[in-house]
Symmetry: C2
Subunit: 356 residues, 2 copies
DNA sequence: CATGATTTGTTCAACTCCTGTACTTACTCG
DNA sequence: CGAGTAAGTACAGGAGTTGAACAAATCATG
């Protein structure tokens, strides 16, 4: 809520900062010798030696052997991320599936479990219990100590309080997901964070994405638009995720894009979600079918989207027109967004990635 | 441009951090004893003593004398901001005036000089020379060492490069204001920063503003809308100014608010500036006068605004209608902004402050 | 093949800074 | 006037970085 009070700097904070600096250097720019790390970070060789020792003891870095000789002078001993270092576990709780992912230090996949299940029908309690069980299984099967757990949720998330504030598509409101999971999965004091899936998708793009700037540098400033039933955007500026005051930034689903248009669930008129959301596309693409029935329908909106794509590829004008229309509205919203946050790149994810 | 490389933490950085922590405590929360500072910051009494000694030597803090006794125990010696500490100098280069402001550590005004002059007629070179001269005078007359200089500019500013990228109302483009001022005013290596006036207005609101949250706490998250000929917004989230990738965040003047509407200088249609900017208000309020003539007109748009306000106060429907109309469009733009950055408060400045 | 140049990584004394404890100082309360 | 309490200081000790000296490993060269 309020900006947190700055902490005093102790000797240990200093050490922690420099450990992170050295580790980050290897993580971001690949394996390097101690001397190279010293040159890149500005630390002295002596400090780097000491820091690297600590990191090796903690199984975060490992010696990869001597550098390939070619230049004069003693060859360095190359350090890389430890393959048997601590792992991270991610839990995705989404509308129609539940999944865990276990990754190593370099982000490589170690294990994944996905359970396709439409969670809309179940009470909150039962969903949390199932999620906790899946998470517990991932933790038990982890091949190394788990450093922390991240949870992606489909809605507005209060990251500080660990609350899922609002998930319209699940029908949830103010669910203390973090506390519940910690208790039911027996996490002890393991670091555990929850966040909005749009934000996390943006971070994934930042850390692991293949997109590049025209100059070939990795993107560090962009908007990642992830459309599903709702429309969200994760905003990354200078390598940092931008959240609003309460962590609800980037909710572009309810940007006003057309002064006419249907009334939205949120009460306003002309919201993007009503103009370019998944259901709006389906509605526009298949007006002859009428609006989809309420409640669970066995084909699901996703299946409907595949249908639209197929019909568009075979040249049916209604489907093409619907996609073009949605793209136009999305463009209006994104241009608003770009004006405000001044970023240079937009990455389309979710249904828009498939439509593009 | 690119996210800057993290710096190594040295012993000195640690000291600097803690000095800032102690100083900031006194600056933010008012005078306090060493013991109170220690309790508030989490530092030990011994550290605070040492840090305070350094700050007193640097004329940043000063002993205000013993605390008013009332509680048992030895009374503390209260520390406050030094009145003869270093001063800061601000330079405002705006369309129709040039001003310098000299302030003490606590932000109290020490000196101010304002020269009303319409700068639109003059070549860039001459304007910079005049600004440098005014700045030089302020520096020479400063009653204490000058810690740094801040420059407010009416346009898009690249703060890293010290460039005024674009100032449509001055007709400037890519002017290296920082370098020019440093050279012409003989600033040596004095810290010097340039920024957008909207951003600086927002920071001023953050640091010195009287606005409070409903709970009575100072605002730390808000949007400061400053409308003049153009419309800009400074965005402050959790006590920090948010800039876009290149420092051009908050340019809401060209948010698309109406899908119809006149074409804007920027090439798009429906920009806020065309719907609710100063000239749009004047145009709407006085349709019988026709659009104002191009170029400089001796009354100036500001004078026109006073007229509109006066006519509205005397109940003339045309003026009222114009203001109401502009307010509506501004509301649409602000609601877009709030969706994206998720802040809870909006502060109206510039012409909107007067219209409200 | 031996020597010197060059670069890497470690060791060690010195320095800076924070911390905890003990101590002095200064005031209130009874 | 003495006990109690809180503020500020002094000092030893620990953690961390620095810089220089040194040992190790390789290439270049005669």
């Amino acid at each position: 809520m309020s900006p947190r009070r700055p902490q005093p700097a102790r000797q240990a904070s200093l050490r922690a900062h420099n450990l992170a600096l050295v580790f980050g250097e290897v993580a971001d720019r690949g394996p390097a010798s101690r001397a190279a790390i010293a040159a890149a970070t500005g630390l002295t060789k002596a400090s780097v030696s000491s820091l690297v020792d600590t990191l090796i003891d903690g199984h975060l870095l490992t010696e990869l052997g001597p550098a390939p000789q070619g230049r004069i002078g003693r060859p360095g001993s190359v350090l890389g991320l430890s393959p048997d270092g601590p792992v991270g576990v991610g839990l995705e709780l989404n509308v129609d599936y539940l999944a865990t992912t276990t990754v190593g230090l370099s982000g490589h996949l170690l294990a994944r479990e996905l359970i396709a299940v439409d969670l809309r029908g179940y009470p909150v309690d039962e969903v949390i219990a199932r999620a906790a069980a899946v998470l517990r299984r991932a933790l038990d099967q982890a091949p190394a100590p788990v450093a922390g757990v991240g949870v992606a949720l489909p809605g507005l998330v209060d990251t500080d309080g660990g609350l899922l504030r609002l998930a319209p598509n699940l029908g949830w409101r103010d669910v203390p997901v973090l506390a519940e999971l910690r208790a039911r999965a027996g996490l002890g004091d393991l670091p555990l964070r929850v966040d909005n899936e749009a934000n996390l998708a943006a971070l994934a793009e930042l850390w692991f994405g293949e997109h590049r700037t025209p100059e070939g540098a990795p993107l560090t400033t962009f908007v990642h638009v992830s459309g599903e039933v709702g429309v969200g955007a994760g905003i990354v500026v200078r390598g940092e995720l931008f959240r609003g005051a309460r962590g609800f930034g980037g909710e572009i689903g309810h940007l006003p894009v057309r002064t006419d248009g249907p009334r939205c669930r949120c009460g306003a008129v002309g919201c993007l979600e009503q103009a370019a959301g998944l259901e709006a596309i389906l509605r526009a693409a298949a007006p002859e079918h009428g609006p989809p029935p309420d409640g669970v329908h066995d084909s699901g909106p996703e299946a409907g989207l595949a249908g639209v794509i197929h019909r568009a590829e075979t040249g049916q004008p209604g489907a093409l027109q619907a996609i073009r229309q949605a793209g136009t509205w999305l463009g209006v919203a994104i241009s608003s967004l770009l004006n405000v946050v001044d970023v240079g790149a937009v990455v389309l994810g979710g249904i828009y990635g498939r439509l593009a």
